[in-house]
């Protein structure tokens, strides 16, 4: 049996801050075990963590699906939350709709979407108010031959 792609699925409960980051943490361990370039691992870990936290804070939880093949890692993070009204505004650094309580916990600095953009090679956000949001993060896998020093 030859496997040349991997798939992982995570259910992320909403409003449970103690479990926020568990899925992205597990994905990070898998990527490290795959021996991918440390920078690739870092990019995916940061972008996915931000997406997961966003989903917990704003989306009421949801699902994460990860696909890994030779060339890239694709993370699809989807919720059935309130959706994002103005995506351009939400992409700006420092903009956040997080509650006072969430900010007190250290969330809601308004860096979530900007960080996702910064660390992913491709970012696709589909959001509809009242329906939900799905974020597709793609990080390309650098082959060892192309690794920078």
């Amino acid at each position: 049996m030859t496997v040349n792609s991997l798939h992982y699925h995570y259910d992320v409960p909403g409003d449970d801050f103690t479990r926020a980051g568990v899925a992205s943490g597990a994905v990070k361990q898998i990527l490290k075990q795959l021996g991918l370039n440390p920078e690739t691992v870092r990019k995916m870990s940061i972008a996915l963590y931000e997406a997961e936290i966003n989903m917990v804070i704003h989306g009421g939880g949801g699902v994460i699906d990860i696909d890994i093949d030779d060339d890239k890692i694709v993370a699809l993070v989807s919720d059935q939350g309130p959706g994002i009204e103005d995506l351009d505004l939400a992409m700006q650094e420092g903009w956040s709709t997080a509650s006072e309580q969430e900010r007190n916990l250290g969330f809601g600095a308004g860096m979530g979407l900007p960080n996702m953009k910064k660390y992913s090679d491709e970012l696709e956000i589909n959001s509809e108010v009242g329906v939900g949001t799905s974020v597709k993060i793609t990080v390309n896998i650098e082959k060892s031959g192309e690794q920078r020093d």
Partner: protein, 441 residues
């Protein structure tokens, strides 16, 4: 690669093959095979957790015996700050120094004094803008090896300065050469080590080409001899105070001391290997970017919690705090002109690739698929009976070719039961047929 020296070692005779150490190892570097624990050398960071938890005292640290100082013409001892918290009877720090001289050492050089120099150099570096923040302390060798194995992205964040032990050894040798006129090789520098990781770092230095320390004698070995010597000295009476360090240097022995000495507002100190790992995970995900300095100690409460120490670390810290109250803030600093080059790292720190399944991502992905598939067949109890710390670790071992599914006692039980069932059904079938035959006749 296999020449890497590890201080943490197993005494096979004492090992019962229980899985206490396997379960507690923070890097999953131990397996029980053929009834005995085995350390996967590439993954071991010499933190000493297994020494701490082994109920049969089968794990130990390789150190140098006190008698080995005899090989040198002039013997200098380097007591670490945590040593000053080990003894109940120390109204006077002078007692420990006098006791060390009575044991046969010719000079004492406090590591705490060198720690103050490192603190002073750290402050200079942090004031500049060249370091990648947050800066991670370079003092705990177990943490440094952990970073090389599990957090290669953070190697560039490590403070590129020699740890206090090395700075102390270098300066102590220089002073001894100057004062005795002997050649550097005749001077023996003996560090009193609170942990195995320091011993390992002397043989395999990180960030520096060669260690200046000649011998590592464990605190646990010297403890009783030093106690007797101290008692003798107390009776004979002590000379004047010759303390070489202040509060800053001494506080390096407990978690938070080094960080506080950076005098920055954004610092964090974590101790205990699990806490350290959690902080490194957060750092790796860019979640601690508001911190300037991060002090990490593998042992609970800091070096004072090292497995080769004697006293309960929290009792020792209380004592050290009490002693510090009567000391000046600091007794040593480097000149404003800049950091002496010999305090800086002179060797590149490389990542260690021992976690990855295969050098090729394509092959790794194939192996990972197999690993997931095997894991889904295991029971997920993480019982450790197979000798691996978790079902996932066993699945990994199987994929790597180090173990088989029969190592899982639950799968083996299923297999035995299925064999029993087929044997049973064979007999039943025979009987059934016999009966059918009978009816037909």
């Amino acid at each position: 690669m296999s020449e890497y020296f590890h201080s943490v070692t197993l005494n096979t005779e004492l090992c019962h093959g229980c899985i206490t150490c396997v379960k507690r190892c923070p890097t999953e570097a131990i397996r029980v095979r053929n009834g005995k624990a085995q350390i996967i050398e590439g993954r071991c960071i010499d933190c000493g957790e297994c020494i701490r938890v082994c109920p049969h005292h089968a794990k130990y640290a390789i150190t140098d015996p006190l008698s080995s100082i005899k090989e040198f013409k002039f013997k200098v001892v380097l007591p670490p700050p945590s040593l000053f918290g080990q003894y109940k009877r120390q109204e006077d720090l002078e007692l420990i120094r006098a006791g060390l001289l009575k044991l046969g050492f010719d000079a004492v050089y406090e590591v705490a004094a060198a720690a103050e120099l490192v603190s002073s150099a750290t402050r200079q570096l942090l004031n500049g803008d060249r370091l990648k923040k947050p800066v991670i302390s370079s003092a705990c060798p177990a943490v440094l090896r952990l970073i090389r194995i599990r957090f290669p992205n953070l190697i560039d964040n490590i403070l590129p300065l020699s740890p206090p032990m090395e700075v102390a050894a270098m300066l102590a040798r220089r002073r001894a050469v100057r004062e005795t006129g002997l050649s550097p090789e005749d001077i023996g520098i003996a560090f009193l080590t609170p942990c195995p990781a320091k011993v390992t770092s002397i043989r395999n230095p990180i960030g520096i080409k060669k260690s200046e320390v000649d011998l590592a004698i464990s605190v646990s070995e010297i403890y009783p001899a030093l106690l007797s010597a101290m008692n003798e000295c107390a009776e004979e009476g002590l000379g004047p105070d010759t303390a070489q360090s202040g509060r800053t240097g001494m506080s390096w022995g407990n978690s938070g001391g080094e960080a506080a000495a950076t005098l920055t507002t954004g610092y964090l100190a974590a101790d205990g290997i699990e806490n350290v790992i959690n902080v490194l995970e957060e750092m790796e995900d860019d979640r601690l970017s508001d911190q300037v300095f991060v002090e990490l100690n593998a042992c609970p409460a800091g070096c004072v919690g090292g497995v080769l120490n004697i006293e309960n670390p929290y009792v020792a810290v209380t004592r050290m705090k009490h002693l510090q109250a009567y000391r000046p803030v600091s007794c040593n600093s480097i000149s404003e002109a800049g950091i002496p080059p010999d305090m800086k790292w002179d060797a590149k720190v490389e990542p260690i690739d021992t976690l990855r399944l295969d050098p090729s991502p394509t092959e790794s992905i194939r192996m990972m698929g197999e690993l997931e598939e095997i894991e889904s067949r295991l029971y997920g109890l993480d019982c450790g009976s197979c000798g691996a710390p978790s079902c996932r670790a066993l699945a990994e071992d199987i994929v790597r070719g180090y173990s088989t599914e029969d190592a899982c006692i639950y799968l083996l039980k299923d297999k035995v039961e299925s064999v029993r069932d087929s044997l049973l059904s064979l007999t039943i079938n025979k009987r059934d047929k016999g009966e059918v035959h009978k009816h037909e006749s």
